[in-house]
Structure formats: structure tokens, C-alpha cells
Amino acid sequence: MTKVIVFIDHKRGVIKKATAESLSVGKNIAGQIPLVAVMFGAGAKDAVFCLSKYGVDREIVFDNKHLKNPVSLNAVKPLIAIIKQEKPDIILFPHTAAVKELLAAVSANLGISPIVDCVAIENTDGKLTCHRPVYAGKVVVSLTSNQKPTIVSIRPNIFPVIERSAKTKIEEFAFQLNATDILTTIREISGDDKKRPDLMEAKIIIAGGRGVGCAENFVVLEQLADVLGAAVGASRSVVDAEWQPQCIQIGQTGKTVAPELYIACGISGAIQHLAGIYSSKTIVAINSDPDAPIFKIADYGIIGDVKEVVPALIQELKKAKQSS
């Protein structure tokens, strides 16, 4: 093995937590061999200080006036050119929605079968054994690739971020990207200024189900989320009833999450929902039905009405904050 590349997902030069996790995995795999970060778009050059924290040996940067969304499908040509030049053994991507089209386009063009959304990786002399959940996490499959480079993506919020220092050498990649290479155009971006963390990266998630009672009652879950710096999620039935938008649904037809703390409020725990939260470190359930299936997997359960328990919890947390 001679080289590991990590593709950097970022927003205006600020690398995402999932990227830091991928870099940490990349460094573990690389060991003494070079770890190379590939970063596109505005802010890529300034990020070198941040990348050096994760043991990156070289940063290859590329920017171009046409490349307004630097982690999208539009970046496929320069990324392929870099891979062909660098000939890495392994290419890691964070498994974020933003880079998925690019990962697939690179794979299709190079004729490589990627292994995506991995939750554990073992490295034996450069041969990776990757574990990924299937059937909403009801089972986990382990896979190896017989292709070089091996393309792997890393599920967010699973692997630890490990800081190491390194001297990162920065290199600009020369490539002619034309307006005709731009396949998709962003017309509008909104919700960028949200004060709550994204569900996929949140350390704490407060999720609500039917037991919350009505759409208006989600306000109290949001208050709890604000106290804890948490994200807010919802069960399928709540989304189907249009109390909450689809983008925060958790479970088999929503997002699979793995926070350190998951607080399920008024969620009974259908098999599809449980599968989506199974890898969470600690699960708390608040539900008025003592027979709700959620209590079977919750580390801590409180039998009671969400409308009464959650406000009491907010009070208690505020008290604890003041005294500390």
C-alpha cells in the first residue's frame, strides 16, 4: 500500500464533522504511508491548518469559477484526473448526502464498485474488510473489494475524531474545467443559518412520535433541544400526519442516526423506527404506555405523558446547568 486519499466535504472551507471522522479513519489505515486530502472550491487553501490537525501529509486543492458547488457531481472530472495521477490504494469519502452523486460518478467512470456507509473497517495490510448495515440495520454485512483503488464511504457519527499533528504540504491541481462540465446548477440554498445541528451529526437527538399529541406540542421538544444543543427528529407517523417535515423522519424510510443520546418522546417503537436508532449510544424513552416496544431497547425509560415529563426534564437540566 502506498497512498490513502480522503475527499473533503465542507461548507465554504469549514470541514464537516463527518469529514474529520473520515480523515481519522484514513490516518488509521494509512499509518506511515501518506494520507492525502483532496479539497475543492473556495476556502480549500485556508483549510490546510485544520487538515494538519488530522495528520494529513498533502492537501491537493482545486478551484475554478464554474465550480460553485465543489462537492457535487460537477467536480467529477478534476477528481478523476487526480485519482489517475495519484494512483491511491484507497479513497475514502464521508457518507454525506452532499457528496453521494460525486462518489457514484467517480465509481461509474472508473468501473469501481464502492462500499458505502461503513460503520466498522478492519485493515489487513491494505486489504479492507468493511462492515455496513443492511435491512435498516437488522443485519450487518461484511465485504471486501478486489479492486484498486478501493472506494469506501464512512457513516457519520460512528467513528471517533482523532487529532494528530502533521506538516501538511499544499499543492494546487491544474485542470481545465469548462462551463459545459457543469451538469447541475444550484438555484437557491436556504436553511443554512439553522441554529440546531444536523440530525446526522448531532450528539443528542430529541425525537417525537404520536404520543406528543399534536404538531403544536413539538414546541416543548424544541425547548428541550435548545437546552441540550440537540437536533429534533420525528417518527414516521408524525411525518405522515404532517406534524413535521419528511427531512427529520428517523427510521427505515427516514434517516438512520447514531447520536450519543437519543430521547424518544411519545414514540412507541415500531420495528422500522428501532432499526433507525439502534446504534445510538444511550436511548431514553418517555411514553405513557408501559408496554410500548421502545422500552425494550431504551437504556432508561420513564412512563408518563410527554407534556408533563419533558417540561420537568427541562427544569431539571436548567437547574443542573446553573449549579455546575
Binding site: 457514484a104 435498516a136 443485519v139 438555484r187 443528542i204 425509560g301 420513564i302 420537568a312 431539571e316
Partner: protein, 250 residues
């Protein structure tokens, strides 16, 4: 407009998954099969587009012979015809091989837009659509929650890691459906009867040599049994104490 919808027949989401004796596949005896839910949204989006601008909706699916009956269910809800590429034991065949089979077939037809589900609930790679688009050399927009055609461009709204984007691209293109892109319809009795006349073309195909090797399937480790710490608002202080001192997550 020539509209293609890629669908996969998968074990229903209620299924209790059992690992087969070979340790590498799941036991498919007595499981209930269904159209992958995201593909249902894709199909409905395609049918609604046809109803607006005219054209033809073709459903295409790779799967073994057993799934033919489920593919048929796409016909009463608005598909005009279906193509079943028969590949035995193809449930966990790697996405690139499936995308190549689909690309080879779709290339031989005129097409303006292709819809796929954003992922499947069995292998959950969420890659076939994106790979297929790249193989066909057309733009791909994944996880659409709203979709429209404006002139010769497709316009898609989607949620990307917590931010909302509106993206457009030229036609022909491929769009993958997020839940909620379009609400699947129930077929009327009349449509069910009419669908019996619609055709399903079946054709055997052989996926390419695999690049990935499945070492095995495992169940995830069991979570320790939960405990009830109390009832009502009075249990809140104890919960905060446990989360701080025992679980150490606060």
C-alpha cells in the same frame, strides 16, 4: 415524454430478517415482497409528469423470477408497460452491476427522464440511480422532495445534510426520489382490469463478475435490556442524574 422508472422488489419493511444457513444471504422463504417504498414515490412522480405533459411510463426492474408478480403492481397505478430483467439471486448483487444491466437496456430506448428511489430498504446502498445516470452520461439529482419540468430543464428541491437546495439540470436526466416526492395512489378497480392488458417484457440477463466479496452477515449486538426508572414528571431528576453520572452523555 419517455419516462423510465427503475424499481426493485424488496422484503417488506415489517419483515423479520433471518440470516440463511450459508451465512451470506437472508432466508427468503415466507417473506412478503413489496415494491421498494422509495421506488413507489419515483413511480408516482413519473406518472404525474406523464399526466401533465403526455408520454409513456415504462417500469424497469432487475430481479429473479419470483418478483414478476410484484412488478405487475406498477401497472394499475399508471405505468404503461414493464421490463423485467430476470437475474437469479440478484438481491445483493453490487449496485454497479445492476446499474450496468439497466443502462444497457435503457440505452436501447428513447428516454427523457429516469426516476429511481433514492435507496432500497434491503441492501440500502442508495447508488444504483447515481451510477446509472453516470453510465448514461446524463445529470443526476438525488433525493428529490419536489420536482418539476421547466422548458428543457428539470427543477428539483431537496434537503442536503440539513440545508434546502433548489437544483436544476438539463434533460434528459435522472432524479432519485425522497419519501414524499409524490404520494402513491391506490388503483381503481377499472385500472386494475385495464392493467391486465398491459405488457411485461421479460428477458434473462447475466450480471457481470462481482468486484466485491461478501464475507458474511451478522446480527448487530443486542442492546442491554432497558430499565424503567420511574413514572411521570417526578422521574426527571433521576434521569438527569443517570445521564450525567452513569451514561456520561450530558
Amino acid at each position: 415524454m419517455n419516462i423510465f422508472i427503475c424499481v426493485k422488489v424488496v422484503p417488506d419493511s415489517e419483515t423479520i430478517i433471518k440470516i440463511a444457513p450459508d451465512g451470506k444471504t437472508i432466508d427468503e422463504t415466507n417473506i412478503r415482497l413489496a415494491i421498494n417504498p422509495y421506488d413507489e414515490y419515483a413511480l408516482e412522480a413519473g406518472v404525474q409528469l406523464k399526466e401533465k405533459v403526455g408520454g409513456e411510463v415504462t417500469v424497469i426492474s432487475v430481479g429473479d423470477e419470483n418478483v414478476a408478480g410484484v412488478i405487475k403492481k406498477c401497472l394499475p397505478v399508471g405505468a404503461d408497460k414493464a421490463i423485467h430483467l430476470i437475474a437469479p439471486n440478484s438481491r445483493m448483487v453490487e449496485p454497479l452491476s445492476i446499474a450496468r444491466l439497466l443502462a444497457d437496456e435503457i440505452r436501447s430506448h428513447p428516454f427523457d427522464i429516469i426516476f429511481c428511489g433514492k435507496t432500497t430498504i434491503d441492501a440500502q446502498n442508495g447508488l444504483v440511480g447515481e451510477l446509472l445516470g453516470s453510465l448514461l452520461n446524463i445529470p443526476v439529482v438525488s433525493a428529490a422532495s419536489q420536482f418539476s419540468v421547466e422548458g428543457d430543464r428539470a427543477v428539483v428541491s431537496r434537503d442536503v445534510d440539513g440545508t434546502k437546495e433548489i437544483v436544476d439540470c438539463a434533460l434528459p436526466c435522472l432524479v432519485t426520489a425522497e419519501k414524499g416526492l409524490a404520494k402513491p395512489r391506490y388503483p381503481s378497480l377499472k385500472e386494475i382490469m385495464l392493467a391486465k392488458k398491459k405488457q411485461i417484457d421479460s428477458e434473462p440477463v447475466i450480471p457481470g463478475e462481482p468486484n466485491l466479496c461478501v464475507l458474511g452477515l451478522e446480527y448487530p449486538p443486542n442492546r442491554p435490556p432497558g430499565k424503567i426508572i420511574g413514572e411521570g414528571a417526578g422521574a426527571a431528576p433521576e434521569l438527569v442524574r443517570l445521564l450525567t453520572e452513569e451514561a456520561k452523555v450530558l
